[in-house]
């Protein structure tokens, strides 16, 4: 049996669309052991938190909003790691060689990775909402919980926060191109900046604008008063857009070997 078709005389096939590339990137995030277990861990984290809250929390606090809010914590920590790995594993595992041989327009791969990251953030918020809803049902039925279904603005705000987090992860990964380094820098640098911002008096005002942890807090609490949006935008520009732009440039220029 011969499966080598006769080489075609002419004809070019069309380039793969962004939808297909995004699907490929999503598949790459989940088809390795590391990616798969990271996602399972996030999912189990939601369930574990719901169970803990059912047993430990005051019945009056057992509301959909509180359950959901708690679940944003594991998402906020672990989703960015998925984003980082999506960008860095190409270099650490050298799969960039295949990726950019099949898709030489590297910016299209970068866009696909960002879209895949956003899709993942949306999916994780969806799953955490479902787990929180289940917890709320169980809470009001068996634990005498308040059972309130009111969410307010927390759903869209949390979604935005998770998107910012995971995109920041992709940006750091794109810029640093090394899994271990990017993960360490991603977690250390903002923390270091927070500590310095607290300690040095002259930095306290700028820190309110430039510390992503501080500016994102109101988002996760579901209310964005006064200058909160402007502060969030400023901090996001510094922590997300700047590394993304630098990483993008590096990605386009780097020699793949």
């Amino acid at each position: 049996m011969s499966v080598i078709a006769a080489p075609r005389v002419a004809g070019t096939s069309s380039r793969p669309g962004l939808g297909r590339l995004t699907a490929v990137e999503l598949r790459k995030m989940t088809d390795t052991r590391a990616g798969f277990w990271l996602m399972v861990t996030i999912g189990l984290g939601y369930v574990a938190l719901a169970v803990i809250m059912l047993f430990a929390a005051d019945p009056a606090d057992l509301t959909l909003r509180n359950l959901f809010q708690l679940m944003m914590i594991p998402s906020g920590v672990l989703l960015p790691v998925l984003g980082i790995l999506a960008a860095t594993s190409e270099w650490t595992q050298r799969t960039a060689l295949t990726t950019f041989t099949l898709v030489p327009e590297r910016s299209r791969v970068a866009v696909a990775k960002l879209l895949a990251a956003v899709a993942l953030a949306v999916a994780s918020v969806g799953v955490s909402l479902a787990v929180a809803a289940a917890g709320n049902v169980v809470g009001s039925a068996l634990f005498d919980g308040d059972g309130s279904w009111s969410l307010g603005a927390i759903l869209p705000f949390s979604l935005l926060a998770q998107v910012i987090n995971i995109v920041m992860g992709v940006a750091f990964g794109m810029l640093l191109m090394n899994s271990a380094l990017a993960i360490v820098v991603y977690f250390m640098l903002p923390t270091l900046w927070s500590v310095v911002g607290e300690m040095v008096k002259a930095l306290q005002t700028p820190a309110q604008w430039l510390d992503l942890g501080v500016t994102m807090q109101p988002l996760l609490e579901g209310s964005m008063p006064g200058q909160a949006w402007a502060k969030l935008a400023t901090a996001s520009a510094v922590w997300v857009l700047v590394p993304l732009a630098a990483g993008w440039t590096r990605l386009l220029k780097r020699e793949v070997s």
């Binding site: 793969p16 898709v103 793949v256």
Partner: protein, 299 residues
Amino acid sequence: MISVEHLTKRYGAHTAVDGVTFACEPGTVTGFLGPNGAGKSTTMRMICGLTPPSGGSATVHGVPYRRLPNPGREIGVLLDASAQHPGRTGREVLGLAAQTMGVDRRRVGELLDLVGLNATAAKRRVRAYSLGMRQRLGIALAMLGDPRVLILDEPANGLDPEGIFWMRGVLRDFADRGGTVLLSSHLLREVEAVADRLVVIGGGRVVASGTKDELLAGSGVRVRGLEPEKLEWALTTAGVPVTRTADGALVAQADAETVGRVAAAAGAVLLELRPADDGGLEQLFLTLTAGRTVKEAVK
């Protein structure tokens, strides 16, 4: 059809590839030969748009690689069989590429069969693969998009003798169907056995290129006599330069007829008389790429 013109790559003061020019025609296998560090891989990466050249250009079917809309359907590339995520299964590696290129999923199974990775091997993660299995997976990956051109960097590395024989057949068959193959190697015998054309590179420059027959024509004939001393004496007396080989035969710098006539005139019984292809390329390769000779060859 691959066309490379004056391709140059400089890293600071070091010139890795220096004005390399050659072309690969449909229906042929071009062997890209050179010692390690000669610039083979850098040249191939530049052809595939992975390394930006400092000068010159390379096109595939007249188009620069990076402008091809869906290159996997035009060119199959295997630059480094080890560059795979160790946590993916062999089947998944091909599945991802098939999805990217928009190739029917069934082709994954076909290619796995073609390269001799059975169902068990396909389900295993690449981490557990030997280098030979990775090469087979890499060849499957290169051929997945049913391309017309193949660019393979050291594909024979890590393959066992059966695997090398198998690969030769696959490449020959591909070229005979009108495909274009560019195959690099430092294993001379491997290239000699399958290539129609040769491009020899040393120190970043092309030091010889042409058909295999052209390049080997100057290497003389191999002749073995019943009485080696008598034959050597006769040939030397007749003005034919000869060198002894390790196994007692002689390599004479003349055509077969001249050697045959000299032997007949001297009454020397011949046991063997044929073109000295065996090892001829090796001689060429060593001459062209070794130290000082390179500089002389490129002058």
